[in-house]
Symmetry: C2
Subunit: 342 residues, 2 copies
DNA sequence: TTGTAAGCGTTATCAC
DNA sequence: GTGATAACGCTTACAA
């Protein structure tokens, strides 16, 4: 497995290594014929520039670190795919680490990647504020970091986020317009900024439509199906079943639907349900789940491009991109005839 | 962002760079106090060995390439998580590329990774045989490659695979034992080895129980929910609805169930369904989906370990690990009382 | 136990 | 346009 090196090619062609190097890097002057001969010969000899040597001599790793809370759900899988596609084509390698929704693990991941000399970092933080201040410090040191999702709009850094407040407002308002009178929100972990924002959107809709406090409730569930189930179990136990539920995400909605159906409640006739961050399964469950679709792919791609800009010029000012989604109404949230509504 | 180098530490402490290097690499003799002083000072100075320089001088990248067909489904997400966990702790970085079930893309990914000098490759191939012969050639050249899933048992290479024939046999037999008389198999792409094996297991069960050819059918669907739906649409159109269906995976099963229910068929009363490669959603749909659970995490971990063994000693003989699963019977495949059966 | 210096495979700064 | 050569930051014989 001996690799052919630039020296081998140079010696074989009786040229200097610099000439061979130049042939492989367009930026220098070199006679056209020389270049072509070198490239042809190199190809025949099976020469490929050693990326590690290149990295060392150019003092950059051409690696991008990506830290996500998880990627067992579709959302971050899609994020990673989008990032790979846009970054690999630009010569970068993408190193992905997941934090398992654990603050300590996340910091460890980030440090590992920084020690590994990634040229920049894309972070979708989990719960907790301490890490954020560490990241901001690194950004101040000149480390290119872009946040994706999961950060507050107020945070002074480049980021691509979703307009959670707005779309959670729309999702909630959709329920209100259906004349459901008692509406609950199964929220995500309170410390998570996207949860907070979705709660805020929910409250906004309640206020706008002057729903009295007895007729809505915000219950912390989490992000997993299991947690949706548990809340519903509790509600059933207390005979406290609302007319409609807005869930922080589809997984919680799936769990809720399951538990409701198991206990004889019909969805949407007895309880209407709407999710968030649409998954492919939304269309496959019965009834089909209404949800808010996020432009996941576009968000990730934008974040990748923002990061590359930052890597190439750290002086550019912070940029915040806030994206919008789409409310996809399906059977789970509509009492009457769905087609009439659409 | 100037990095502290080994030279800085050496100069500061009036020792040679080799001594500092030795302090960071246990394998050499070095006085305990010297080592401790160096490590302490290095820490204070914020020194971290530059991994790129290390890679160059040791002529290895400490990178492992992983090529999967996709990771939008849970299966390969879990594979990647398992690999990361076991490989990162051993000092390796994991570079993941997905082929999108496209043979050409897969070969491109593999070549990219080889040019990027990964120390070894883990491949879960997509459809098509041409690539396989290329991979076998590389293995013969001495490149450490381990296959995961998606390869035939007969292939002369190290691999970790699932006993598809056996578990597809069990899944099918479970349907037969329920006295379903007309049983169809919605298979994956015919060219995909796991599909072939699952078909084989299905046939085996049919033969064993002497089901006549009029009473079973194998229909190529694919791996996506959409494809499951399409087949069912077709069957409904031709008034050709069986009593039970064994689907190549859960996604196809979800699609099938959805389409059946939309057309007034009850599952399992009218048509029983069983999936394969259990997903988390299996427990959340109505009715809950019976499926075959694979030890995904363990398979991936075993593959990672096999690869490391190969990287450290290319002379070891090929090893094939065949893993077994678990048949999880749920409501979707059982006509009577589920608890009686369990 | 520690130091010296060659080497890993490139790029980049000079000369020519 | 091309060639020599230092430099990137580390490891590792070999010498001391």
């Amino acid at each position: 497995m001996k690799h052919v090196t630039i020296k081998d090619v140079a010696k074989y062609l009786n040229v200097s290594v610099s000439t061979v190097s130049r042939a492989f890097n367009d930026k220098y002057d070199i006679r056209k014929e020389t270049k072509e001969l070198i490239l042809k010969t190199a190809e025949e000899m099976g020469y490929h520039p050693n990326p590690i040597a290149k990295k060392l001599s150019q003092n950059r790793s051409l690696n991008i670190g990506v830290v996500v809370p998880e990627f067992i759900n579709e959302y971050y899988s899609e994020v990673i795919i989008a990032l790979q596609e846009s970054l690999v084509s630009k010569g970068y390698q993408v190193l992905v680490m997941q934090s398992d929704e654990n603050e300590k693990q996340e910091l460890k991941n980030v440090k590992t990647l920084i020690y590994d000399m990634v040229d920049g970092l894309l972070i979708a933080p989990t719960i907790g504020h301490e890490n954020i201040s560490y990241y901001l410090k690194r950004i101040n040191d000149g480390y290119p970091i872009v946040f994706l999702n999961r950060v507050d709009e107020s945070i002074p850094a480049s980021k691509v986020i979703f307009n959670n407040i707005k779309w959670s407002f729309f999702a909630t308002e959709h329920l209100i317009r259906q004349k459901y009178e008692k509406i609950y929100h199964l929220s995500g972990y309170r410390d998570l900024c996207v949860s907070k924002e979705r709660i805020e959107g929910f409250k906004k809709a309640m206020n706008k439509h002057k729903i009295s406090k007895e007729n809505y409730k915000i219950i912390e569930a989490g992000l997993l199906a299991k947690e949706g189930k548990e809340v519903i179990e509790d509600l059933i136990f207390h005979h406290d079943i609302p007319d409609a539920i807005f869930c922080v995400n589809d997984m919680v909605a799936f769990g809720a639907i399951k538990k409701l159906k198991d206990n004889g409640y019909r969805v949407p006739e007895d309880v209407a349900i709407i999710g968030f961050t649409e998954t492919r399964m939304a269309e496959l469950v019965t009834p089909q789940l209404s949800s808010v679709k996020q432009p996941t792919y576009e968000m990730a791609k934008a974040a990748g491009e923002l990061l590359l800009k930052k890597i190439n010029n750290n002086e550019i000012p912070d940029e915040t991109i806030i994206m919008n989604g789409e409310l996809n109404i399906r059977k789970s949230s509509v009492k009457g005839n769905l087609t009439e509504l659409l």
